[in-house]
């Protein structure tokens, strides 16, 4: 009897071990290291002291918090666009498409993820550059008189990012909408509701956990992305991850970079907390559920 219990406990530990190791070694420990590093201030070569100087530097320099706010607001815009474009797609896949085409459609959404971020960014560069596909096509149709540059601006960054993250919006939406009984929509129409009323009063409230889960994931991915904004962005497009890279690599200022990394984490967490409060959802019934 006793032995049986021990075996059960052991197997529980063994099952739990990979997860615990992953969380402790790859998430908690590095973050503690970052916090410690961010609280150090360089006094002279090889001499450091503990202080909040790196965080104060962020507050005193408008370039840094402007970039953070810019990154945050553009990420919110990308999230909103992904939701606007992703919702009809998810609804079509979950509710309208037949069971046979559903798998195919889902696969089509997945395919872009099979190539790396870098390749996708280069794809956009080929399309958007002044001597690229779109500019040449418009020239050929005679819509424009001379080549137009579509690359190196904020619109290109937003298009590229939306394309990269939209799948992470579609997947949770499809899985929530899938669980919705069609009878609920029929009942809405039977009771005299217009299409818009049914959407607003029945479908959206039902899909809310999926919407919130999708928004959280896309927002986090966008705010933390590096390659797409760097490669597609223009001479004025700063992204906060670029600032972190600059601190670490160009300026050899690991302490400042660590502080910036923590600030990005706090900032995105704050935005998500606000979003959850405003939508009346909790993490438990959104991300954890889907």
């Amino acid at each position: 009897m006793m032995q049986n219990k021990d075996i059960k406990r052991l197997s529980l530990y063994l099952l739990f071990a990979p997860f615990a190791l992953w969380i402790i070694l790859l998430v908690i420990l590095p973050h503690i290291g970052m916090v410690v590093l961010s609280l150090k201030e360089k006094i002279a070569p090889r001499v450091y002291e503990y202080s909040f100087a790196n965080y104060l530097e962020f507050l005193h320099e408008p370039i840094y918090w402007n970039t953070l706010l810019r990154t945050g607001s553009m990420s919110l815009l990308v999230t909103a666009l992904a939701l606007l474009i992703g919702f009809p797609i998810a609804y079509y896949i979950a509710k309208i498409a037949g069971p046979r085409s559903r798998g195919g459609l889902f696969l089509l959404c997945l395919i872009p993820l099979w190539v790396s971020d870098l390749i996708r960014a280069f794809g956009w560069i080929l399309l958007l550059r002044e001597t690229g596909v779109i500019s040449n096509f418009l020239l050929w149709t005679g819509l424009i008189g001379e080549p137009v540059e579509f690359l190196y601006n904020d619109v290109a960054v937003i298009v590229g990012l939306t394309y990269t993250v939209i799948l992470f919006m579609i997947v949770p939406l499809v899985s929530t909408l899938d669980g919705m009984d069609n009878a609920m929509i029929e009942a809405g129409y039977n009771l005299g509701g217009s299409g818009f009323t049914v959407l607003r009063r029945i479908i959206i409230p039902y899909a809310m956990p999926g919407i919130v889960a999708g928004c959280i994931v896309t927002f986090m991915l966008t705010a933390g992305s590096y390659l797409t904004p760097i490669l597609l962005g223009g001479k004025n497009s700063s992204w906060f991850t670029e600032q972190i890279y600059n601190q670490f690599i160009t300026r050899f200022n690991w302490e400042g970079g660590a502080a910036f990394g923590m600030l990005l984490l706090f900032f995105t967490s704050l935005v998500i907390w606000l979003g959850l409060k405003l939508s009346g959802q909790t993490l438990a019934n959104t991300v954890a559920k889907s």
Binding site: P45, R46, I63, N66, T67, I125, R129, E130, T131, E149, L151, Y152, I230, L231, G234, K235, N236, S238, Q243, N246, Q247, F248, I249, T250, R251, F252, N253, W254
Partner: protein, 358 residues
């Protein structure tokens, strides 16, 4: 009990595996893309069958960051530029002194060897010897921008929207020279240097409207230049030489203020484990027949006597099309970066990037 035996078995297995791989020596190179062509590695491994060469491609900043993260472990030979050794060593203690008796310094160009030694000697110990040198300057399509001769010409309204530069320290220094300043002389007085940087930032922010985009690597620069989207840019000479191969109108232009010259070096990381293999690699790549192979891949000139004559034919033609003897005399070698300057320059670059000038 069972569990313990398994664990012991596992441990023994790992130890055995460790002992097995220690027999063949591994030389872990930390160097620039194209500085370790496959052909040379195969030749080296054929000559020294007990050495395996592993290569990690990087750049100056990332080399220092990687070595700093480990206190100088993980690599056996690094190749930072000559101006990136002194301060990095003082601040982070990531290199160890060279044993010059193990390097055949007699084949090296004396002027370059002395210059690098002077720049990298700390407390009487030498930390680096030269490998290859090259310059940063301008490149222009001479049919479309024949008058691009100075760093300041990138901001000439005649080429509006048709020029590019990399937002790194080179353009800060070049612009400072074009404004009649000597940034290297100001390194000894950092307040004065900050004053120069402020003026340079103002000028480059004003210039933003003239720039099409800041290039980030050789590939996007090449694409913009070959497609004709830009007519002139700040560049590494090797990138310009590669484009000269494809379009003879695209030439490297040493700016009239003097092209900025760098020397990539050999330096030993502090916790390097294969010093002998590293010395063998150094002497191997400095042999004349290997110098030509290396230069064909890098586009840079070896720091050996007669290095220019050992260039492959196509590169020799590109260099001759770009440089006169006068330009060579006018070269400005990057001065040692004192501690703190990278931070000042980094901040200036951030300011330029964030400004909404154009």
């Amino acid at each position: 009990m069972h569990f313990k035996t398994t664990l012991a078995g596992l441990l023994a297995a790992t130890m055995l595996a460790g002992a097995g791989s220690a027999q063949a020596e591994t030389l872990r190179l930390l160097t620039w893309g194209s500085y370790a062509p496959d052909e040379l590695i195969e030749k080296f491994e054929a000559e020294y069958p007990d050495i395996d060469v592993e290569v990690t491609f990087s750049n100056n900043e990332e080399m220092i960051a990687k070595l700093r993260a480990t206190g100088g472990a993980g690599f056996d030979l690094a190749q930072p530029s000559h101006d990136r050794i002194y301060a990095a060593q003082l601040e982070y203690d990531i290199y160890k002194p060279l044993d010059l008796s193990k390097i055949d310094t007699s084949v090296m160009e004396a002027k370059l060897l002395d210059g690098v030694k002077e720049n990298t000697t700390i407390e009487g110990e030498v930390y680096a010897v030269p490998h290859q040198w090259g310059t940063s300057g301008l490149m222009a399509d001479k049919t479309k921008a024949p008058d691009l001769k100075s760093w300041a010409d990138l901001c000439n309204p005649a080429y509006e929207g048709k020029t590019s530069m990399r937002l790194k320290r080179t353009i800060l220094l070049g612009t400072a020279f074009s404004m009649g300043e000597d940034p290297f002389a100001a390194y000894s007085d950092l307040d004065k240097y900050q004053g120069i940087l402020d003026k340079v930032a103002e000028k480059l922010i004003e210039c933003k409207g003239n720039i099409k985009a800041y290039w980030k690597g050789g590939d996007d620069l090449s694409a913009m230049m070959l497609s004709g989207e830009i007519v002139g840019s700040e560049t590494w000479d090797s990138t310009a030489y590669k484009l000269f191969d494809q379009n003879e109108n695209i030439v490297f232009v040493p700016p009239k203020e003097g092209a900025l010259a760098w020397i990539d070096t050999f330096a030993l990381p502090r916790k390097a484990k294969a010093d002998d293999a590293a010395y063998k690699w150094i002497n191997f790549v400095l042999r004349p027949e290997n110098v030509t192979l290396m230069s064909a891949s890098t586009g840079a000139i070896a720091a050996v006597k007669g290095g220019q004559d050992l260039l492959p034919e196509d590169k020799k033609a590109a260099v001759n099309a770009a440089f006169t003897a006068e330009d060579i005399d006018n070269l400005k070698f990057f001065a040692n970066i004192p501690p703190g300057v990278e931070d000042m320059e980094g901040k200036t670059l951030e300011k330029i990037k964030a400004a909404t000038g154009g």
